[in-house]
């Protein structure tokens, strides 16, 4: 009995403590949830994504449609359940009506499924880039102004085959939806051009010891395609260098991103000259990009150049704010007006024009890059070529594209 009374008392106290914070959301502020990986193997990525999102907020001087922007942060660790937990907390406890995030591929799919249960809340993606977040079974209230992982690879497969002359490539990638999507994007072009991928290694996310994986890569490949992120990429590259690896590398979008290029250690040597593709290029000369870099650098702890994550969260946060501005910050109708505005939104980002397709997935420019050493010794992604306005089906007619099947470990295949 005493136990029960105590529990009840604790519950009452807890409710008393949390309830006011919900009721106090005043009319002159607008709450936006920001969901990113502030813990786990993608911590650095999450920290930079916040800088990107805050750059967009700072551009509007922290105000939208006359209301003050209040950012409520939610943290996940790159696992889908943690992302849903954080999203639930933001939506159901903090009462946000607009949520920007998540960061990682599987998280995106999980949050999309959660979005279906919360039709009055508007979800705008962060940088999660799995294909099926928007391509198959999309949610009406989930928007992605950043492109997906297959789109990011536009141009790379052809470049590796024709310019670099690689005929046989092995892949090493993490075992979840985003790297599947990246490998798909790369192989779609590479296999079509006539290349072969005899071996694909899928490693669990957060793996530390890659030496066994490296040993299992066939010795007769021309290059290794690596789609690993954050700490995983650093570990792989270091151990590849330690093991005396000599085959050249091809990078997935986040493998040669600033989050990895700025790491300390000997991995720098194996990275130079690595071709890759993604939604950004560090040496982009466009004035809009340069202005964005300057704005980004005002954020505390910024990298020499914004990472893909800063860029993605910037674009998605910017779209959110533009949408909110159009509807006067009014989401009292369950966000219907906001979602209408977002679906029609088309705007110029630091990396060119972005608009949405019918599945609410972005069509945008993609940059083919190569890693070079900058004047001050920092590693940068040099712009090689811009592939304009890539859509989610990579320029292939939709019905044909859908026939290629859902991305997974074994699809596509060209051994």
């Amino acid at each position: 009995m005493t136990m029960q009374r105590r529990t009840l008392l604790a519950l009452a106290l807890f409710t008393g403590l949390t309830a006011p914070s919900m009721a106090l959301a005043a009319d002159d502020t607008i709450k936006i949830g920001l969901l990113a990986t502030f813990e786990g193997p993608f911590t650095v990525l999450g920290e930079d994504s916040e800088r990107g999102a805050m750059t967009a907020v700072a551009e509007m001087n922290g105000m939208v449609a006359g209301k003050k922007i209040e950012i409520v942060k939610g943290s996940s660790d790159a696992s889908p359940d943690s992302a849903v937990r954080a999203a639930r907390k933001l939506v159901e406890q903090d009462g946000v009506k607009v949520l920007v995030g998540p960061l990682s591929g599987d998280e995106g799919i999980a949050v999309k499924d959660y979005a279906k249960t919360q039709p009055d809340v508007t979800f705008i993606n962060g940088t999660s880039a799995a294909q099926d977040t928007t391509l198959r079974d999309p949610a009406e209230n989930f928007f992605r102004f950043s492109t997906d992982g297959a789109q990011w690879m536009a141009g790379l497969g052809t470049y590796a085959f024709t310019e670099k002359g690689y005929k046989k490539v092995a892949t090493v990638a993490e075992d979840y939806s985003f790297p599947y999507t990246q490998v798909f994007g790369f192989m779609a072009e590479f296999c079509k051009a006539g290349g072969h991928v005899p071996s694909k290694s899928w490693v669990p996310i957060g793996n530390k010891d890659f030496s066994s994986v490296i040993a299992a890569i066939p010795e007769d490949v021309d290059a290794i395609y690596v789609a690993l992120g954050g700490a995983d990429a650093v570990n792989f590259l270091t151990q590849y260098q330690q093991g005396g690896g000599s085959a050249p590398l091809i990078g997935g979008s986040i493998t040669v991103d600033q989050t990895v290029l700025t790491s300390k250690g000997k991995l720098r040597d194996v990275l130079k000259g690595t071709p890759s593709a993604g939604p950004t290029a560090d040496t982009n000369d466009a004035p809009a990009w340069k202005a964005f870099v300057e704005a980004y650098k005002k954020q505390p702890g910024a990298f020499p150049s914004p990472s893909l994550f800063a860029h993605g969260y910037y674009v998605d946060m910017k779209a959110t704010l533009l949408g909110l501005d159009q509807v006067g910050g009014d989401v009292s109708d369950g966000g219907k007006k906001l979602r209408d505005a977002l679906s029609k939104l088309s705007f110029d980002t630091p990396t060119g024009k972005v608009s949405l397709d019918k599945n609410r997935n972005a069509i945008a420019d993609i940059f083919l890059t190569e890693v070079t050493e900058g004047a001050d010794g920092t590693l940068l992604n040099k712009l090689v070529k811009v592939v304009p306005q890539v859509n989610q089906t990579l320029g292939i007619p939709e019905d044909e594209f859908m026939k290629l099947g859902a991305v997974n470990r074994d699809n596509p295949s060209c051994p």
Binding site: E39, T43, A231, Q239, Q242, K266
Partner: protein, 333 residues
């Protein structure tokens, strides 16, 4: 033939069966099944060196548990803190060995402080000690995130530990008859050697010294040891210093082989928990056997069935718990 001889023969046969795939040149059908000899032998070697690292962390964990019945769930934090301290010292002094020593000494001090200021106050209250150690690990993880941020650090190993060693193991024969030998990173072999030396050293300390005798007596019956006039608190402090110091040492050594990043604390805590559960709580030999099993399972799983590799580790744990709940070398209580 006596029973002993028969077992000896079986042992020899087993050794021969194990040695054959390592030294013989593989026929094609075997290569086809196991990807390649290089992949297989590397996985075995990696498993053994990883086991060395796990042993370093888990031996401290098991020692502390065996003596004090204290499941120190902050043990992973000790590993991570040691790694960060090792990184800082190596970076500032430019000498890797200083980093290793600093990692051990600093964490030994932290360990003693934890024992004296926290765990001694909760003596005899196992559950509260465990809960407090969870609390410490959470606070420590956030403090370390505040100081060192979320980045991935690589502790620079000295030149003389860099590079790869050519082992007398033939992985393949080229068409011109030349043999291809297996190369293996030198540093990893050094980690393994260090683990073996420390393992033997711990065993000698436990079985050949007076302090070791006291520790063993304490493991068996703490009250009796206290009654016979031994200052158990001093013994506890020594054990905590050695256990925490080893975790710090492993942090620097492991941080040089792999890398240092937030989240490592939980990973190594989980690894040492599994190792100790499989090997038997409180036994150094058990920790070595457990580490070997888990290290090999992890690496072989990673190469041959990466998606379900992690399951293998827990299958071993479940089977052990089902057949021998006290662990392979654990004593039934």
């Amino acid at each position: 033939m006596t029973r002993g001889q028969a077992w000896g023969l079986v042992g020899l046969l087993a050794a021969a069966v194990m040695a054959w795939p390592v030294f013989a040149v593989w026929p094609d059908w075997l290569n086809a099944i196991l990807i390649s000899k290089k992949a297989f032998v590397s996985a075995i070697l990696n498993g053994i060196t990883l086991a060395g690292l796990y042993f370093l962390v888990a031996s401290g964990f098991t020692l502390i548990f065996g003596l004090m019945r204290n499941v120190n769930l902050a043990h992973g934090s000790l590993y991570l803190l040691g790694a960060y301290i090792g990184y800082e010292v190596t970076n500032r002094t430019g000498n890797w060995l200083f980093g290793v020593v600093a990692g051990f000494v600093a964490l030994a001090i932290v360990g003693v402080a934890m024992q004296v200021f926290v765990f001694r106050r909760l003596e005899g209250d196992d559950l509260r000690q465990t809960l407090v150690s969870i609390g410490i690990s959470i606070v420590a993880a956030d403090l370390m995130l505040a100081v060192w941020a979320g980045g991935t650090y690589q502790i620079a190993t000295p030149e003389w530990l860099d590079g790869a060693l050519t082992l007398p193991i033939i992985t393949a024969v080229r068409s011109n008859g030349a043999s291809v030998f297996l190369t293996y990173p030198l540093y990893r072999l050094v980690v393994l050697a260090a683990a073996i030396v420390i393992g033997v050293g711990l065993w000698l300390m436990l079985h050949r010294t007076r302090v070791g005798m006291m520790i063993r007596a304490g493991v068996d019956d703490r009250a009796m040891l206290q009654a016979s006039g031994v200052n158990v608190h001093a013994v506890f402090a020594i054990v905590f210093a050695v256990g925490a110091g080893l975790a710090g040492f492993a942090g620097v050594v492991g941080g040089s082989a792999l890398s240092v990043a937030p989240g490592e604390d939980v990973r190594y805590l989980l690894a040492s928990l599994v190792v100790v559960i499989v090997g038997g709580m409180g036994s150094i030999t058990g920790a070595a056997i457990g580490a070997l099993l888990i290290g090999l399972a992890e690496q072989i799983g990673l190469v041959y069935f990466p998606t379900y590799g992690i399951v293998l580790t827990f299958v071993i744990m479940v089977v052990t718990l089902a057949l021998r709940p006290q662990g392979i070398m654990g004593k039934a209580r």
